[in-house]
Symmetry: C2
Subunit: 568 residues, 2 copies
């Protein structure tokens, strides 16, 4: 192909980009609309079935409020004014009707969110009429209707108070490629107020994420109030005002569930537990031992004394107490980065091993068996970090879901063990990489997972790489993007997360390819351009809705899709 021909192709593409809807994540199938439709000032959303759940009614109310208060103008030269002529003769939409397919049970969004993840129905159909009829969303579940509302919200622009879409005539049939679409949030290295978590849940729901994987505690602090052991947070939190009380947790879980987001709590253990020692020093080996780098992946050192019957008893009650408070069907015991020298040099651990005539490997197996047993007894699916399985060969329950985190290369090895897993590879999805080292006295230090993971990098992830077709069914989620908070805090939460988490969310929703079967990025560079224009729109919508998402380009480029491409 000659350079000239290629260039013409890009121009044509950029014209197309200006015309097609900028939905994010892109629907699985969509026949685009081709006429403008204005929102009537009388516009309302009607539920066409009896006894609709309160949380669906609340979601409708939020959708209406965001439609009418939205100030987002279309990203074209002239912004909204470019559409002024189009709007003169546009038809008016008076209502959106939500209906459930015949025979579908009427349940709340929260109830459906708390079903087993394999059983959830998130698909929906959405039609925008060209004439004066009603728009419709239909689904088999309240959760599906809620996903449809998220799509509907993204169709509308503002111009001087007029709300309109260019998608009159559009038909969308949509549903996720994977049920598990997650964000992992570390609230232990630095603390985040409840309001930050709620705001993040809202934004997650706008891009159809389904799970908040809450890495709530770690070696540095213990902000979780546990009913059975209130002393853990009383002594292990950074301060009395940096605790998630039981009421806070209930409120956050309820808020999430009403927005189609399940919460998995990770009680990371037996490593990453030093903060337990503030209240229970007897449970922790090598607590704050120096040099920390010999005993832990980061300061302070400290791990549960897994060989001690007291520890097992504690862990049982601990997991049981937390599991009891959570409605979801998934729970994680973490398990990353356990350190053998810590236990080898711990007198009490060695004495326990000798007395019980077991090895440290036996003790680790028993520990995992114990906590997985509690999780299973609560009817929840256990999650575990991949090194526990791959490095330590710990036997796990058959229905365990493995969080593959060290590198994307590890997925194949987990699949060979016939375990289900989610992708959370540090080489694609870690939001905290590339900002230098946070350790003192490491002037020229890099982050351990350099370089910075760009949105393009996350977007290029292939969830089926190195897997056989038979193994595809083991992928419960194309993944999860984590924020580790050593260098993050409420001050930069939005800007470090958004819009990169949205880029990943489209991978999680659509799967290995774009819905039309083309590769998302790579050789076919046009996909990248297409995504950037849509992602720019999503980013501006996030800002309009109160999320401090980072700009991806100068506004000059945003208003001229394709013109800031590498070779344009």
């Amino acid at each position: 192909m000659s350079p000239h021909f290629l260039w013409s192709g890009l121009v044509i593409l950029s014209i197309l980009v200006c015309q097609v809807s900028a939905l994010w994540p892109i629907p699985r199938t969509m026949s685009p609309g081709n006429s403008p439709v204005k929102l009537s000032s009388e516009f309302d959303i009607q539920i066409r079935f009896a006894n609709p759940p309160a949380d669906l009614r609340a979601a409708i109310s939020r959708t209406k409020s965001s439609l009418f208060s939205g100030k987002f103008e279309r990203l074209v030269l002239g912004r909204g004014s470019a559409d002024a002529d189009l709007l003169k003769d546009a038809r008016t939409l008076v209502s959106l009707e939500l209906s459930l397919a015949a025979g579908s049970p009427v349940r709340s969004i929260a109830e459906e969110t708390n079903q087993p993840i394999e059983a959830k129905s998130e698909s929906y159909s959405l039609s925008i009429p060209e004439n004066n009829a009603s728009a419709t969303i239909s689904a088999n579940s309240s959760l599906g209707l809620f996903r449809g509302l998220a799509t509907f919200e993204q169709l509308w622009y503002d111009y001087e108070g007029t709300k309109y879409t260019l998608e009159g005539g559009a038909d969308i049939n949509d549903g996720p490629a994977f049920p598990y679409r997650g964000f992992s949030f570390d609230t232990a290295r630095n603390f985040y107020p409840v309001s930050d978590i709620l705001r993040t849940l809202d934004a997650m729901s706008w891009v159809k994420l389904s799970v908040l994987y809450w890495h709530i505690i770690d070696s540095q602090s213990f902000p979780l109030q546990v009913a059975a052991f209130p002393e853990l947070s009383a002594k292990g939190a950074y301060s009395a005002s940096e605790i998630y009380t039981q009421d806070d947790v209930r409120r956050i879980v309820q808020y999430a569930n009403e927005r189609g987001i399940d919460i998995i709590m990770e009680l990371d253990s037996p490593g990453h537990t030093t903060a337990i020692g503030a209240a229970h020093p007897e449970l922790i080996a090598c607590a704050s031992k120096s040099p920390w780098s010999k005993y832990a992946s980061e300061p302070p050192a400290g791990q549960l004394r897994i060989a001690s019957p007291n520890t097992l008893a504690f862990a049982k009650t601990f997991f049981d107490s937390v599991a009891t408070a959570l409605p979801g069907t998934m729970m994680s015991s973490g398990g990353d980065e356990v350190n053998l020298p810590c236990w080898e040099e711990d007198g009490e651990t060695q004495a326990d091993l000798t007395q019980r005539n077991i090895t440290i490997a036996d003790a680790l197996n028993q520990f995992v068996e114990t906590v997985q047993g509690v999780i299973a007894a609560h009817g929840k699916t256990p999650f575990i970090k991949s090194d526990m399985v791959l490095t330590h060969n710990v036997p796990v329950l058959n229905d365990t879901v493995v969080v593959v985190w060290q590198t994307s290369e590890d997925a194949a090895a987990v699949a060979e063990r016939n375990l289900r897993f989610i992708h959370q590879p540090s080489n694609y999805f870690y939001l905290d990489c590339g900002a230098g080292d946070w350790l003192g006295n490491n002037i020229a230090g890099n982050s351990w997972c350099d370089p910075f993971k760009t949105w393009q990098r996350a977007y290029s992830f292939d969830p089926f790489a190195n897997l056989t077709v038979e193994q595809h069914q083991l992928v419960l989620g194309a993944g999860q993007m984590p924020l580790w908070s050593e260098q993050s805090s409420p001050e930069n939460l939005d800007s470090i997360v958004w819009p990169r988490l949205a880029a990943a969310a489209e991978v999680f929703w659509t799967g290995a390819t774009l819905p039309d079967g083309t590769k998302r990025v790579g050789e076919n560079a046009t996909s990248g351009t297409h995504a950037l224009a849509r992602l720019n729109e999503l980013r501006y919508r996030l800002v309009d809705r109160g999320i401090q998402a980072i700009a991806l380009q100068p506004k000059w480029c945003v208003l001229r899709p394709g013109e800031c491409d590498l070779d344009s």
Copy 2:
């Protein structure tokens, strides 16, 4: 040295760190205090000379307000409660007295800020008594007193409403190593509201920065309202609401000057000017020509037609109109990244060159001579970007200040030409590096100045590297940290700038070494630790005062200086 001995040394150091004041930038000389002093609820700041200027009185009022409203607790285990016992018998400070040295003129902070940069007096002395006497700040100028107030503000902690310092008995004699301590701010790639600039100016004054170098316009947008050419912003700004009106500029300049900050406006030319073409297409060569990469460093292509007499006439009026509106004594014509193929392929430029029988190099020299002439005619010192001198060998006025930006290696070459300069090296100070490429279709792309510039990297800068002792006097500023806004916007302004700009500000204030003569970082790793503890405190103070500065470490580490060092 044995590892054990080294480790002991670090422990001792970390104890010291907890005791010494965490002032940032560190004063040039300080004998630390050793007793607690509480702020009386009657505390007031008195001016001990006649007819004090209004902006000094306003600064005092802000200082009092920040002292009484501050909620920052000392960063030790237990936070403020750790000092509760100390405070029981602490003496009370009732007043701070500001005095000018005998014979000093009484002028406003703004007036003094607008003096020639070499003539400014920013030094001050500050004493905190151990007994019930008054604290004092003395200086030769209102500007010096203002710098002293910034130091005074950093001495105080809050504990349950009690404001106190541990520096009773401290004496500080302080002044800057360099008069030019800058932040360069690009408001053209993406626009920032006036309020963002004002907030940034406040934070800059807290760390004693002296110059906002305002890169206000560029090829992507022209947000500056110019009296002589109102059409430039009317047509070249992103929108009517993304313009800095003449009133906005006056307000910003006044706000800055009252805070000891001079404003240099950069009218970057002849490159980086495409947006001028929105109103005056006749002035721009190769406007938006494709492929942009042949004609410009980033899209869109476009440069002033420097060979045209019309352009020279425009530039003269343009610079004159902007210079007239600015009280400062410095102004920049930029000049980076001019592109020769743009002019070579521009028919009108070639015709002008032929008609006038000059080369493009002659035209460039004339252009720079013209704009520098206007700047000089306004009594201002001209600034220029280093490639104009080093790459294009353009003759400049003798008092020109060169902004050395491409790499720190260029400073020596500029010094050889016996020109004054400021350091703004992309390999140390660029805030925008390391977040991937913003060009479309460059999936695996890096930023051009990878990697991310950590605070440690900025902090390790040596302003005298590769210079002879005789050349040291040419360093007007150890430098300037720039924010280029291709991937920044109001949403991440604070988090991309702070606290990294503060790290640089200490280099700018203290010079090539720490005040005690030790190297700032490098072989002597203890300096890094010392700096980190103080910078952590500064960062928490910034957050307390409304700046969304990024966390440098988990709070666990912040509360335990040295314990998260690489080998602790």
